[in-house]
Structure formats: structure tokens, C-alpha cells
Homo-oligomer: 197 residues x 2
């Protein structure tokens, strides 16, 4: 296996540092020290901290695509099971609870981290929402949810509510808000109107 | 009217600066400059930035209590109208869309801003959730929602989902996520099972 380049180390380790401390909370010095590379490497590889932030979002999204592939797009599972697995995938361990979602963190942290970064995060959210909507359409086709479900609107609702649940989970250091969201989602929002009580 | 003290100025203006730039993004220097007070004032009045952050949360919660009093606890309105007014109150203007909820921002920003600050934010969320639950109980008593509604669980769901909707509204600079949440909440989560379609 080739040795990871300083650039790869800065991105991989830097993403963890940003996830833990926030984008502004993670200084270039913190990132360079955590990655164990010379201070000058950062400026050699990234034009600015914002340029680095854009690549961190890209890398985080690449990981999120892995989860989406294994859950929302996993045709071996029934559509609603894919959705359940996707939701569970966001709060698998202590670290997830402490760090929350990096995209949500970027959004909440400040409104002046740069317009390019905001737009990149919005596009990442849109990509996740698109995968949620495709999964809901499969559920509507298979009859697991009502055929008349507005899958795009419902996907947008799920995306936002899941962000909120993960935010509260992070505040409370407990998976309960995510479990509660799942309960409301499957018990009421996605419940077929003809389902028996 | 007495002249506002440096302490009041630091808190009032500092809260705005923290709301706009995040807690870590707002340096003591930024806060002191925005408040137009001497640099030394900050350390005269606050033992640390975390101590300042705790008072900022307190002040933000005092404002939130004003909104809760005018909406969730406003007995001149039908219970579900109180809830609608409360939700609408969070995204009244351009600034709300840009800044989001300060409590959510504190939570998302980083997980090492100090345990005291995290616990204070969790307590503030609990206070808001309590007011939401009381409003839902009034709605259940008046028959606006099902009598069997678990008001505490539903209040916790609303609190979290509203945080998520405000987070997406902040990302997208649009009130659409909050309106979508309202639509799902009133159209499905709080809908009485015997309601006509």
C-alpha cells in the first residue's frame, strides 16, 4: 500500500479534528499537529482554510455515500428497512453522539464561513435528500407506504428532522432523540391511512 | 433610563456577535469592539469566555421565554394556534434565517466548549420542551388533538424537529423547511385519527 501523502493525512485527520472541534474551533495549527506533518504542508496543499473546508465536506460526503449505498440504495432490503438502517447508521457509537453530523455542524456554526462552503453543504444535503426520496418511492411502489405520498417533500422533512434529532442527541449525549424521531416517522408520518391501529 | 453598564452592553451586543459568528468564531476582541467598551471590561465582568457563554445562554433563554409567554402560554388563543404562532416566531426575519437558533448553534458547534455550557443548553431545551408539552396537553383536553397523545414525547419530537428545520432553513436561507415541518406536524403527527381526509 502506498504511504499516505501529507495531503491525505491532512484531510483524513483534519476531518476528524473539524468534526470534534468545529470548523472554526479547529485551527490550522491543530490540524497540522494532529496529522503530524510539517506546518508548511497545509499551505502547500490548500489555498485557504475555506478551500480545505470544501474538501473536508467532499470527504465526509464520500463516507455518507458509503452509508447510503449500504442502506437507502440496498435493494436486498425492503425499502422501509433501508430507511431504518440509514437512520440507525448516523448514531452508531459514542463518537457519533459526541460529534453529530459534520454537515449540520458546518451549517450551525456560523453564517460567515464563506458562501462557497454554505452552497457545498446545501448541495450535499440535496444529494442525501435525493437518496431518501428514491427510497420512499420504492416504498410507495411496493405498498409499504401510501401510494399518494409526496416522496420529495417527505424526504426533505426526514432530512431536516433527522438533523434535529442528531443535534439533540449530541446535546444530550443520548440516542433517545433519534429513536423518538424513528417512532414518530414510522408510527405516524409514513403510516398508511388504512393501517390498523 | 439609566445608561446601560459595560456589562449589559457586552452581554446584549455579545449575544448578537455570538449568534452571528458562533461561540468560538466570536473572539473576546470582536465582542469588546462591537460593544464599544474598553478591552479590560470583559475580564472585569466575566471570569472566562465560558462564564460569558453561560450568561449569553441565560439572556437568549430570557428572550425565548418572552416568545413562549406570547404564544405557547397565551390562553387567549386555541392551543394549536399557540403552537403555530410559536413555530412561526422562530423564523420571522432575514436575521433569524441567517443566524438560526443560538441554542442549536452552541450544540452543533463543538463538543468541547465546556461541560457546564452543554448542560446549561440541555436545561434550556428542557424548559422549552416543558412549555410545548403543556400546550399539547391543553390541545388534548380541548379535543384539538387525540386525548391519548403522549404529550411529553410529542413535545420532545417537536423540539428536535424544529431545531432541524431551523438548521436547514439556515443552510438554505429559506423558511421552506420550517413550513414543511409545520405541514407534516399538523397534517399528520398531530392529526386526530378520526379526522376526515
Amino acid at each position: 500500500m502506498p504511504k499516505p501523502s501529507h495531503r491525505d493525512k491532512l484531510l483524513q485527520i483534519g476531518m476528524q479534528v473539524v468534526h470534534e472541534r468545529g470548523f472554526r474551533g479547529a485551527s490550522v495549527r491543530d490540524i497540522v499537529q494532529a496529522a503530524g506533518v510539517p506546518q508548511g504542508s497545509f499551505t502547500n496543499h490548500f489555498a485557504s482554510k475555506e478551500a480545505f473546508g470544501l474538501e473536508v465536506v467532499e470527504l465526509y460526503l464520500a463516507n455518507a455515500r458509503g452509508l447510503i449505498h449500504a442502506t437507502l440504495r440496498n435493494e436486498a432490503l425492503a425499502p422501509l428497512q433501508r430507511l431504518r438502517d440509514y437512520i440507525a447508521g448516523g448514531v452508531r457509537g459514542e463518537q457519533d453522539l459526541r460529534n453529530g453530523c459534520l454537515l449540520g455542524n458546518f451549517t450551525a456554526e456560523a453564517n460567515d464561513c464563506g458562501e462557497a462552503l454554505r452552497l457545498r453543504v446545501v448541495a450535499a444535503f440535496a444529494e442525501i435528500q435525493h437518496a431518501l426520496a428514491a427510497c420512499l418511492r420504492a416504498a410507495a411502489q411496493s405498498g409499504e407506504i401510501a401510494a399518494a405520498t409526496d416522496c420529495d417533500e417527505t424526504a426533505a422533512f426526514i432530512l431536516a428532522s433527522l438533523q434535529g434529532a442528531m443535534l439533540l442527541a449530541k446535546a444530550q449525549r443520548s440516542p433517545a432523540p433519534v429513536q423518538r424521531f424513528e417512532h414518530v416517522l414510522f408510527g405516524s408520518v409514513l403510516r398508511r391511512p388504512d393501517a390498523t391501529h
